[in-house]
């Protein structure tokens, strides 16, 4: 495999004639040969991630506090993975999901992050580091972040079984996804994933059309229906995949789904327009629907939620001043301001203590403790999010994260699963 890798790496890059790649390649000599020039100028870090993980306000604050310029490179979830695998020189810092690591780490394009250089590493939430919340174990199916947090060495392509100095990702945000519903149209409590395929919502339901995530939601449904108990929803056997897809196809043919969605905006439009009343949904999408003045709830379910987490990684080629700057930025990111910003968006931040110091007590109570808002709740941009007296859907941090039943993942049988998912779409 190491012999093959060099060859295929080059060829893969040839395939992609992206200008970004050329730009990325050109930037390397700059780092290596011209440190003197760089020292005179503020260091710029190209920050690759999805739009949801990027906020101009964070970049602004970071520049104020550290003098490091953040240049966002915005792509979709799948493209983050593709970039890391095919164009590892086109960014200096990447914010990607833990479940992708299965494909990213063996590529050798990322380097381990040194725990010793991450000042607040010990304060990082146990949800990520141990798979626990307040000492209680949470769902471990799929790619639970703690399983892929450590590497055997800085340039290792293998995950370590026990904690080491070398980390795959330093967490940025994480949360738990369930179903979003339109309470005004449904008018009764929704407590189970099985409701997604309830004939009552025939033609009014939707499921996410990103195979690796959609199959998990489908598995939650299948399990809730009592059809099958999975060994690991995040790593199904071929038979389990067949069963799950067959179940999905059955409901699809019966006309259960109004549509499937891939894109954040699609999910918002489906819900906001009333085309769907119940669907798999991401938390910021729920917020987006509510900002349109349309009631939409992120529904806690008895079977639990599907967790996801993302974090920072560094490309293998990053060295010198840029490498130092990257660590400096990561440390700043964990130091509270950014965490508070993320918490106010409805995500959870990696180091809770520091974020708390940057939030008002009533904010902390509403967002993290599941208490009724004692004042109006404003978003990070100052816009009114919730009226005084509202309680956050899904409850407190502990309740929400403890409800995680499985984590986003990439299965051993991913290739087979993708093929079967295409069958579902084509059915």
């Amino acid at each position: 495999m190491p012999n093959n890798k060099a060859v295929s790496g080059v060829s893969r890059r040839k395939l992609l004639k992206s200008a970004a790649m050329i730009a990325g390649a050109a930037a390397i000599p700059e780092v290596i040969y011209a440190p003197a020039i760089l020292a005179a100028e503020p260091i710029t870090l190209r920050y690759l991630s999805t739009a949801t993980n990027q906020a101009p306000a964070i970049a602004e604050q970071a520049f104020k506090d550290t003098g490091i310029k953040i240049e966002y490179v915005t792509v979709t979830t799948d493209d983050v993975t593709k970039r890391i695998v095919t164009q590892p020189d086109s960014f200096d810092l990447v914010d990607t999901e833990y479940f992708s690591l299965r494909n990213l780490v063996p590529s050798g394009n990322l380097k381990g992050m040194d725990a010793k250089k991450v000042k607040l590493f010990d304060k990082i939430t146990t949800v990520i580091t141990k798979g626990e919340v307040n000492g209680k174990k949470i769902g471990d199916q799929g790619t639970s972040p703690h399983k892929v947090l450590y590497l055997e060495g800085e340039h290792s392509k293998k995950f370590a079984k026990s904690p080491t100095e070398w980390l795959t990702l330093i967490p940025t945000t994480y949360n738990a996804d369930t179903l979003g519903i339109r309470p005004d149209l449904i008018g009764r409590p929704i407590t189970s994933w099985a409701e997604l395929v309830n004939p009552q919502f025939k033609g009014k339901a939707s499921i996410i059309n990103i195979p690796s995530i959609g199959i998990m939601d489908a598995a939650m449904v299948t399990e809730a229906l009592g059809i099958h108990k999975y060994g690991d929803k995040g790593n199904m056997t071929k038979a389990e995949i067949d069963l799950t897809i067959a179940n999905l196809i059955k409901y699809k043919k019966a006309g259960q789904f109004r549509a499937l969605w891939t894109d954040f905006n699609q999910s918002v439009n489906l819900m906001a327009s009333g085309e769907t009343e119940i669907q798999s949904m991401w938390s910021p999408a729920v917020t987006a629907v509510r900002l349109k003045g349309i009631p939409c709830v992120f529904q806690p379910l008895k079977e639990g939620a599907r967790g996801w987490a993302s974090g920072f990684a560094l490309p293998r080629t990053l060295t010198g001043k840029k490498l130092d700057a990257a660590y400096e930025f990561v440390n700043w990111f964990l130091s509270g301001w950014a965490g508070a910003y993320l918490n106010r968006q409805g995500y959870y931040s990696a180091v809770l203590e520091t974020a708390k110091t940057h939030m008002e007590p009533y904010e902390w109570a509403y967002w993290m403790e599941g208490k009724a808002a004692t004042q109006d709740i404003h978003g990070p941009d100052g816009g009114l999010l919730e009226k005084k007296g509202t309680v956050r859907d899904g409850g407190s941090y502990e309740t929400r994260m403890a409800a995680v039943a499985c984590w986003n993942s990439i299965m051993d049988e991913n290739e087979y699963m993708v093929k079967k998912w295409n069958e579902f779409v084509a059915a």
Binding site: L15, D78, K82, V85, N103, S273, E275, N422, V425
Partner: protein, 292 residues
């Protein structure tokens, strides 16, 4: 002298040839090459194996239960191809005829021609989203029909259906038919139509015997545009079909997103071959060179 002139002509063509070679032929060849490579989730390895092609046709056995995925996907895409082609042809022909033969003032003609490009004034995604308020469950069409008491319940099939996909595809692609047809029709000398009338041809006979035959090239070029776009269009199928309708492009996209480049390349080669065959068939019917 003759050979020197010949040589200089080749020289003149060489920059374009180089550009085509670099940005068209080379990537195409690479796609063909990669389609035989092997892969894991994070790497692709040069090889020569037919696994990717075999994977595409997985489950396609004679006497299998129902058509396999690739077959049903192609049938679905082909269905849109035929429907959209037929509608855009008729619609595009009528609009082009109107613009060329009925509109007298050239300013009016340009104005109306620009109107035909309205579908391109916004991005694809915004355009698609805009269909929701029109065709959706609570959309204008349903509300209007209900207020007229023509229906009691909203029509579900207006949106996220084959109907919706076809409507959106016709909306985008008609202009691809209009432009080459206008080009063909504008070349028809008005005296040909007068000559036909002089020989006793009715409007319909003139259309059938003169205008349509002389538009064959335009029809062929427009058809090539529409067929290639529709065969590769997974965005419209996805957004208007509620992502519940298979399309070849979407399959390829899913494979690329799953980092399965070689199988995606194999799918792309298959699609390319399929579209090329369709175009070859068209060219056999009509010699398009006379139009270029």
């Amino acid at each position: 002298m003759g050979t020197a002139a010949h040589r200089s002509i080749w020289w003149l063509a060489s920059p374009l040839a180089a550009v085509l070679l670099l940005f068209f032929a080379v990537p195409l060849v690479l796609i063909g090459v990669v389609s035989f490579w092997s892969y894991t989730g994070y790497s692709i390895t040069p090889a020569f194996e037919l696994r990717n092609y075999a994977g595409i046709f997985d489950g396609c056995r004679v006497g299998g239960a129902g058509p396999c995925v690739v077959l049903s996907t192609y049938l679905s895409t082909l269905f849109f191809c035929v429907v959209v082609w037929a509608i855009t042809l008729v619609l595009g022909f009528c609009i082009a005829y109107f613009l060329v033969f009925e509109v007298r003032s050239s300013r009016m003609r340009i104005g109306l021609g620009i109107l035909c490009t309205i579908p391109f004034w916004t991005s694809n995604v915004i355009r698609m989203i805009s269909w929701i308020p029109l065709l959706g469950r609570n959309g204008m069409v349903n509300l209007a029909l209900m207020q007229l008491h023509l229906i009691n319940h909203p029509l579900e099939w207006l949106l996220y259906s084959r109907f919706a996909v076809a409507v959106a595809m016709v909306h985008i692609n008609t202009v691809f038919m209009i432009v080459p047809l206008i080009n063909s029709m504008a070349r028809i000398s008005p005296s040909l139509i007068e000559a036909a009338r002089d020989a006793g041809a009715s409007w319909w006979q003139t259309l059938r015997n003169i205008i349509i035959p002389l538009c064959r090239g335009g029809i062929a070029i427009g058809s090539i545009f529409v067929i290639t776009v529709v065969m590769g269009d997974y965005i419209t199928v996805g957004l208007m079909g509620g992502e519940q309708i298979a399309s070849v492009g979407k399959t390829i996209q899913t494979q690329i997103d799953a980092l399965q480049f070689p199988i995606a390349a194999a799918s792309a080669v298959l699609l390319l071959a399929f579209v090329m065959l369709m175009i070859l068939a068209l060219i056999r019917i009509v010699d398009i060179r006379e139009e270029l």
